[in-house]
């Protein structure tokens, strides 16, 4: 065993104090922010935060869930710093209650409504009117009264003057994933999903894209939560999410980036 001299011990303790101070300083400086985001954004946000963390001192954690659940958590004071919703009503409800940091809300992304069929399907759909054809017996749509994509779809078909005639064929399902599953299983001939969701399944193909100007405006708004204790770090991350590099990543996953 070797003994430390008095002087060495002293310098060790000085060094220890110095390290503790340096560590606490660094952790006060580098923040960990929490972003509550719609579950459909999981992959793209992970990629964007990897890019961010490579060059920033801050770290980003995500809380993925359905937008309405995320909004409820923020209403009850959950410690989220940023809210990224998949639809406007959830953001509006927080806005009305004064829970968002003024001036930080903006529309970040948009998505395109598409019609999908099985990858080897022989169906031809060149306009939404083709949905009325006899060989399309069932169409899967996320619950048209409550789920955002379902609401958007029924509104679009109503604008085209087709909703009343298409409605008897509609099979309402739980969400976009259930729509994909229904089409994949072959139990329905076609389904309405977002372009980004169609991209994750190899068993389906996009047969018709609803033109951006014709379709209802699909918006993913983002804002900093008023009660956030890490607003500077949150702002920094939002700036990164609007950077050219992040925009490229969003586009790669099929999103339309709004300015």
């Amino acid at each position: 065993m070797f003994q430390l001299s008095q002087g060495m011990r002293k310098s060790f303790s000085v060094a220890a104090v110095f390290f503790v101070l340096a560590w606490t300083q660094a952790s006060a400086w580098a923040d960990e922010i929490l972003v509550s985001a719609a579950a459909s954004l999981t992959d793209v946000l992970k990629e964007i935060s990897n890019g961010y963390q490579a060059k920033s001192k801050h770290t980003v954690k995500f809380n993925f869930g359905p937008s309405n659940g995320l909004a409820r958590q923020i209403e009850e004071g959950a410690p989220a710093d940023i809210f990224l919703s998949a639809d406007l009503p959830q953001m509006d409800s927080l806005d009305k209650k004064g829970l968002l940091e003024p001036g930080t809300r903006k529309n970040l992304l948009s998505n395109q409504l598409v019609i999908i069929v099985l990858a080897d399907s022989k169906l031809a759909i060149s306009s939404p009117k083709d949905l009325l054809k006899a060989d399309i017996k069932k169409i899967a749509i996320a619950e048209p009264s409550s789920v955002p994509v379902g609401v958007y779809t029924s509104k679009y078909l109503a604008d085209e003057g087709l909703w009343d005639r298409v409605k008897p064929k509609v099979v309402p399902v739980q969400d976009v994933r259930a729509t994909l599953a229904a089409v994949e299983s072959g139990n329905v001939e076609a389904g309405f999903v977002y372009e980004t969701d169609a991209a994750v399944s190899k068993k389906v193909k996009i047969i018709y894209e609803v033109p951006i100007d014709k379709g209802p405006k699909i918006t993913y708004p983002v804002a900093i939560v008023k009660e956030s204790k890490r607003k500077d770090a949150a702002r920094d991350f939002l700036n990164h999410a609007s950077s050219p590099a992040a925009k490229e990543t969003f586009k790669k996953y099929g999103f339309v980036v709004l300015d």
């Binding site: 929490l34 958590q73 009850e76 994750v200």
Partner: protein
Amino acid sequence: MIFSFETWQITLFSISVGLASTLVILPFGVALAWLFARKDWPLKSAVETIVLLPLVMPPVSTGLILLKIFGRRSPVGRWLYDRGIEIVFNWKGVLIAMAVMSFPLLVRSVRTSFAEVNPRLEHIAATLGASPLRIFFVITIPLAYKGIVAGALLAFSRALGEFGATILLAGNIPGRTQTLSLAIFNFVQTGKDPEAYVLLGITVTLAFVSVWCSEWLLRAGKRA
């Protein structure tokens, strides 16, 4: 092993919080089950019903109630928050959600095993001068322990499968509150079925083993 770091992390996290939640509710569950099985008291059936509610209520609504109770806006949540205890978006939230959702299963099975203990043995011990506490630990518990362990295993399996209450109270934060069930949800939402199946396999294995042990103990208990 073929499992990724994340898979290990999620599995170990789920098992540890599930075990912790089961250990936390065990003393309360056993005490309450005994009160249900052996004593008559006012409002007993009302309390029994309340304890059972999480079993039949939609888990999301239980989660909403828990979020209301432990959120910073409520007096309880505020009080805890002022003392530096955060429940929402924290592993403690996962534990509370699991505990509340699995408590009814524990109480029900333990209660049945207490009811199967012949009260005559307890009476005899009492006539021999044993204190009620001694009777409980020396007669009742040893005779009912298989049912108690079986109930604990069942509660643990239920805790592992918890989803609805957890996602609302604790959030679905990878590396912090994400359990097996929450990770499966995330993988399914993003079309990563192969990854979801790996976690599903782990969940099914864990659930199968603990439910099977639980059933085996109950059958062994009946024979004894």
